[in-house]
Symmetry: C2
Subunit: 190 residues, 2 copies
């Protein structure tokens, strides 16, 4: 078993707003930072910000470069280390092909959702898949706003079961869902 | 076994800054919101914001009331429900005595830290303690800034093992640490 190659993408399109309408959401500085620190903690290979909007890509690049090349990284080298994992891409397909090219493996794509979805993968099952990972790499997709458009969930290799799907309240922040997901799949159990 | 009574406190004093100096940190709107949503998801009894500074207590009260009584809660009732768990207290001792009074039980206090600490409690051990919870209630303490002053860790019933303490990078956001801790202790394992 070689080194695990786990990638994460935070997706800003195609997602839904709270009325169920298809939108491209705005990037948020906080999700960039928090999820970069989580990605670094759990030793992911890269963290993709996915947005098709050119001005949002430029903004994301500037926010990241402040930490990689500008004043931020000098003050806080730990943050620079985390921000160095970030890549920017226009769509999910681009992320998939870039990972395939980089790893020489076929990437398996799993999407997180707060919704019930038929034949979703349970947590122990997905953890085992990742632990047994042989020639594949894994890409975990997280949606922003009110979550993925169905087209995403229909096109991936698997949809991950909701976090705490049997509880009454179901409104975790995306960065909280990322923290819990990475810990459930990759965390130390002792 | 009765209903589990689990409380959480986010502590702004006594904590350390990055130079190891004792400070009172500022409350942040984001930690209020994110941790309230996590507390509601995992069905905690209350979420305490702990700060001795009167102006910070007033500010916290205003931020919370915007959602409980002001415009915010009408637009987003789910957020109002989460924010309703928040209480404000001047110090940890006040939190402890308020919980004892409310529950009629003796509260056991556990502190989270990113540091190694002698005789810290491992995760399965603390999870089991909570699952077996009989006549006690439990208070989980989280520090802001660069974490608790030693005086806190020395005075609690137990210090929780660091999250991913065997990994190289150790800089989780507090709200990420709260998410992972609640999930490890109270989350569904399937």
């Amino acid at each position: 078993m070689g080194r695990k190659l786990i990638y994460l993408a935070l997706v800003h399109y195609p997602v839904l707003n709270r009325h169920g309408e298809l939108i491209a959401s705005a990037i948020t500085n906080l999700d960039i930072h928090d999820i970069a620190r989580l990605a670094r903690t759990y030793e992911l290979s890269a963290y993709y910000l996915v947005t098709p909007l050119p001005d949002q890509q430029v903004l994301a690049r500037r926010l990241v470069d402040h930490w990689l090349e500008g004043a931020g990284g000098g003050i806080n080298p730990d943050r620079r280390e985390a921000m160095g994992l970030i890549r920017i891409a226009g769509d999910i397909e681009k992320v998939r092909s870039e990972i395939n090219l980089e790893t020489g493996r076929s990437v398996l794509v799993y999407a997180a959702t707060a919704r019930k979805w038929p034949n979703s993968i349970d947590w122990p099952g997905l953890r085992k898949k990742i632990e047994d990972q042989g020639r594949d790499s894994v890409l975990l997709l997280f949606g922003t706003a009110s979550g993925f458009d169905n087209s995403v969930l229909e096109s991936v290799d698997g949809v991950i079961s909701p976090i705490e799907g049997n509880r009454e309240y179901n409104h975790l922040p995306a960065r909280g869902a990322v923290a819990i997901t990475l810990d459930r799949l990759l965390g130390d159990r002792n």
